[in-house]
Amino acid sequence: MDGWVGRVLRVNLTEGDCFVEDLDPDTAKAFIGGRGLASKFLFDEVDPKIDPLSPENKLIFATGPLTGSGAITGCRYMVVTKSPLTGCITSSNAGGYFGPALKFAGYDLIIFEGRAPEPAYLSIMDDDVEIKPAQHLWGKSTPETEEIIRLELDDPWKARETHIASIGPAGENLVKIASIMHSGHASGRSGTGAVMGSKNLKAVAVRGTKGITVAGGEGFKEAILAFLDEIKKSPRIGLEARSTYGTWRIIAAMKNRGMLPTRNFQAGFLEGIPEIVDIRRELLVKATSCFACPFGCRRQTRITDPEFEGEGEGPEHETYSQLGPCCGVTDLAAVTKAGYLCNELGIDTISAGGIIACAMELYEKGYIPQKDIPFPIRFGDKYAVVKLVQMIAKREGIGDLLAEGSYRLAEHYGHPEISMTVKKQEMPALHPQGYQGLGLAYATANCGGCHTRSGLRFDKRFEVAGQAALTKADQEYIAVVDSSGLCWNIFGGLLMLEDELLTELELATGVGYTKESMMLAGERTFNLERLFNLKAGVTANDDTLPRRMLEEPVLKGENEGQVVHLAQMLPEYYRLRGWDENGIPTPEKLKQLGLVNEEARVG
């Protein structure tokens, strides 16, 4: 096969067995790879009703046909599993070098099953696959884990080429927002790290020396060079702004648009947000890239403020916004420190910020009794943010409750409406009350409130009419991006480079993708995820937003007074999707998507 390697590595942790299976070419074509293909495996092999932290759940690391192929931004891998945070299927995406290394080792996917009897890590060196003991790694932070595994290899050259994804103490402690980290890149959302921890799997280390072939040969090379030329010249793509400021430019854009979630989404603007030139001057050590990406939005940073010393990665826009303004904090050094701690301990920065903001509002409204907390947790208290992040990861004191996610926290104190979650997952750092379509996209995302599940079309953000059709199409296209192994920030987001993606995908695989068949694969994936969720117990009632988004007009900023008109958009969205009024895909729709066998399993 071209693009795909054509091999799946299956690791049964209970038995300690590893074996390789052939990837069925027709299934690969129908679901592309990454998110789509892994969702297909999970749907076929896992009962949606199981406890996500039980050995019956599976954890899938999946690359796409463009991962490591030489396609621009072809570096992403997806972690797909049933989420302990949402109870839904989730796919959490990360960049760096891990995905390509997995392909170079000769695998499209790794499927982890069961639970290791003792802490273990998986070591892959091409065809040599070994489950190794990880007792000595248990309790270690993610950078420490990577360093120790590299030292164990005892060969500095091989260590350089070995790429590692690991969990921190939070994953071991089954924190429901635990992430899987790879050199500062996070598969952050939905608690994939907790699933890994429940399997006693500390890390996956990969080194590969094989090559990846593409179908298009010279044509592929020419297309890459033409695309690079376009990137260099196109002001719309904005190479310079992206490489200079990374995702910090989104902080500036959201501040200007009044869409920076503030004080648990009560407002869309906060005074005192630093200018991005100041953030850059204050923090940046070096801008670095993921594999095959000329944009280089990864930030290697250092805190100069002696109060919060440290060095690490980020904060990216989402991290800054959620641990910062969402908690009423603007202090750059404190937020950066909190972000580092999240990365080291292995928790999702977006959900961590959302949970702390929720706790702050609960406390300020008097719903959390004084006896439950060791110190007052008020909006704007930067020390509380830094401390609570650590308490969540370690499940210390009230951190044990916070580690369950903001929905369970707010429900525990009798006020679930204070939790800014969709399907129990914290909403990301773009305030939906400034953008109707985003509200619809959050409400209907299969993984709950998430920041990379639709496109960004700011020119149409206040319009209600037409959002359903746009959101549907964008969600399907983004499923294609996630399945191909490309980056949402470049191929999705503001740019939505559909033609460029199709060119890369078809030239790499050569299996005859057209715009229609590519988009249909995205729709197929989206509907398959939906079927999984329905079977898991999700209903149309879960396709909603926190009451605050629908009823309480947002304070401050350009969108002051706006609410999300979800009820006006959702019925049309269901109709366009080919779903009935209960949000269930109709038999005709499933037939059109080739999901006839899957339909039989919806209970």
């Binding site: 890459i224 890239s289 990406c293």
Partner: protein, 135 residues
């Protein structure tokens, strides 16, 4: 013609490695590239494969780049018995940059948008082992 390296501009995207291996082997494989990027957290240094040496040298010195001490062996361009770098992983055949044939058309430079790799006509005294001065 020489390829000038400004490591301060390199972001570690390794598109050069991909282009190189694609050009020389027809498949994408950084292990078969004639250019390799040494990547540390805040430091990226592209190294272009030089001539093969039959014996490993004894100079295990450290050199200082940007105030950082780096093992000379790491930045050495030679393919030698002491390290598995710039050799075909399956056959051990040493690899050396050939500027992508005659006339020279280095693919690595073509895909480098960061400006870390540029083609320059040779100027004496300004270049050392392909590493430009960053000061």
């Amino acid at each position: 013609m020489r390829i000038k390296i400004d490591h301060t501009k390199c972001t570690g995207c390794r598109l050069c490695e991909l282009a190189c291996s694609r050009q020389h082997t027809g498949s994408v494989n950084p292990q078969k590239s004639r250019i390799g990027v040494f990547i540390a957290e805040d430091f990226c240094l592209p190294i272009i494969a030089g001539p093969y040496t039959e014996a490993a040298c004894n100079s295990k010195g450290m050199i200082i780049i940007d105030g950082r001490e780096i093992d000379e062996c790491v930045v050495c361009r030679a393919s030698c018995p002491a390290k598995p770098v710039f050799k075909e992983p399956d056959t051990g055949i040493p690899l050396k940059c050939d500027f992508c044939g005659e006339p020279p058309d280095p693919q690595c430079v073509k895909v480098c948008l960061s400006g870390a790799l540029t083609v320059v006509e040779e100027e004496k005294g300004k270049l050392y082992h392909g590493i430009s001065s960053s000061t």
